[in-house]
Symmetry: C2
């Protein structure tokens, strides 16, 4: 909250309007609002913050966040409409910073009746650097994911459907008291050539790759991992694809590790006075992508990786055109893949956290080729 308040003067605005659900969770700890429609705004001004929501949530949020005198609840009712609330606020608040990637055109038009609105970039990058407690939660989510992977391997039998496997995965996760962080992707055989295949009623038969992409949400923080295993003996083509993907991932990890080490050694030589050696997200993408292309396979049809936290996909972005610089405290995926339509695909995805002087792997499921 203080970080945002400090940005108000700098951006010449009177208040910041936080609207995205992940940012509201991040700032208030309250995770009850729907992602599917607008149910709340958090308006942060220098001296006071206003939580604007309706009667479905008033009691819940008053229990959780209204303990501080710096917060005020503004309840939307059929009498006290959102327009009336904005109008009252506009007596003191003139210029409002908005999340331009979240506020819709229609919402912005309504806001403009009462305020001057202006995109506030800081709200977009608010969650990109994680603190230790956030990293611990993601790490816990990853541990549950690793256990789920270990568990699901035993369920892969001839005739089982993708949906049944997804169901077993999710049951396992839910039994730990957590939730899946997104609908699990289970793809058998040729279906694995679609990076985001919709889990179907396809049945498992031998000589098939099995792509499993799933995650866990633990205490509001997400994990995400992918493993591709083989049902029966893997043929040479599959083995070559698998090894190429694995090596591409290793190259990306090595690049990150080397950059981390060179930073550390320079730091120790110079007592930390040398400028940090920037790690460009696009460079990490490139080393993995080039490895795959150089081995005669099609380019990865998605980014090499994405940041993760309260949302499954958030900053930074590891892609060819990304301008992001990787910094300590960032948690992201590294997930190269090769997809051959009509044949099948392989993706290997792990989560890592960039620490001050090293890269730490958060997912630990085995990566040697598994034949079931």
């Amino acid at each position: 909250m203080d970080k945002i308040k400090n940005k108000l003067a700098e951006n010449k605005i009177d208040a910041a309007l936080v609207s995205s659900v992940p940012n509201i969770i991040y700032l208030t700890g309250y995770s009850g609002f729907s992602y599917f429609e607008r149910e709340a705004f958090l308006l942060i001004s220098k001296n006071k913050s206003y939580l604007i929501t309706d009667g479905r949530y008033s009691e819940a949020v008053s229990n959780i966040i209204l303990s501080s005198p710096k917060y005020e609840l503004l309840e939307i009712t059929s009498q006290n409409t959102i327009d009336k609330i904005f109008k009252k606020l506009s007596a003191r608040i003139k210029k409002v910073g908005i999340e331009e990637n979240d506020i819709t055109v229609a919402e912005n038009r309504r806001l403009k009746k009462y305020f001057k609105t202006k995109p506030l970039k800081d709200l977009q990058t608010l969650r990109v650097i994680k603190d230790q407690s956030e990293i611990s939660k993601i790490e816990k989510a990853c541990k549950i994911g690793d256990k789920a992977f270990d568990f699901i391997l035993k369920k892969l039998k001839a005739g089982v459907t993708e949906k049944q496997i997804a169901f077993e995965l999710e049951m396992f996760i839910k039994k730990t008291g957590s939730d899946p962080s997104f609908p699990s992707i289970v793809a058998f055989g040729k279906n694995s050539s679609m990076p985001h295949h919709i889990t179907s009623n396809s049945k498992l038969i031998t000589h098939n790759p099995i792509l499993l992409d799933f995650g866990v949400r633990f205490d509001n923080y997400c994990s995400d991992m992918t493993r591709t295993v083989f049902f029966g003996k893997a043929d040479d083509k599959f083995k070559k694809i698998y090894q190429t993907v694995l090596n591409a991932q290793e190259k990306a990890i090595n690049l990150l590790n080397n950059k981390c080490h060179s930073e550390r050694s320079e730091e120790s030589r110079s007592f930390g006075l040398l400028p940090q050696d920037d790690i460009k997200a696009s460079d990490v993408d490139k080393v993995a992508r080039s490895h795959i292309i150089d081995h005669g396979f099609p380019t990865i049809p998605h980014s090499l990786g994405h940041g993760i936290g309260i949302k499954v996909h958030e900053g930074p972005r590891l892609s060819p055109k990304s301008k992001d610089i990787l910094k300590p405290g960032m948690v992201f995926s590294i997930e190269p893949g090769i997809y051959l339509p009509g044949y099948g695909g392989v993706r290997i995805e792990d989560l890592v956290v960039l620490e001050k002087s090293k890269l730490k792997l958060l997912t630990h499921s085995p990566k040697q080729i598994i034949e079931i």
Copy 2:
């Protein structure tokens, strides 16, 4: 699709940019895109429709919708960026209708570099009237919900937690091959006074109300229902609250039924030439809301009801300020509730479909007071 194409000339636009996931599902049948980030646009012009997405989805959508020569896939890659795609399209397409409730401020700014954009209201109400096949799917989802309710009653035992009950509910739903349409709300005791309580680890003890609000997604279409039962003998206060909520719902249903009947009889008298007797959504809200207030209880802190379909909440809206007119083919919830902080709450929610001359109930779980 034709409905939209016919609206282009009328709105003086060259194309409609469909961006919301429910509208893309509605128009293409493909349900693989994420609700959490922009993964596709469907641009509909008079002679051709363009599906703009990236390599994660190219194969999947080509299987499903690219069978028609009227469709073209425009694949976003790191070379062929979304900007390049928009630029190319702007050679022929100048004015684009957008979903102003879905396109963000940032997206609109990007679009405006290449097109004139203009809100297209028809995209907002596209799905509000359901055809018979859609109604059948919602009805099927409701049937599974009724079975789930019947099943879950047997699981309500002393000491069980809200989360365990939600888990059992969801397992039951998933075993039928469907999915929950939203995270189930299970609220024991005082928690039931929060209309959208976050299901917790609270344990069930006797003399407690139990509020169960859950839904099923069957073949992309959602159900939604709420029942409140009592664990142990219900006290007089609870019984009075329950009866008031139930009567409020009955009044709303009766109003709708009477309006339907009066329409039918007028129609039969006049051979259908008389103008239809409009049913205002706000009138239906009012009759239920007034009943609750007249009995000395606080007003319903939410709308009486909402439309449902591919999304759990869509048009029409049954609320005091709603301008919506209820029409044949609309499917919506009727869900009055009384919530007393520190004591508990009761909500009873059913789905109905407005047919030409009658109101049809889609959920059939019992509504007499249940004491377990």
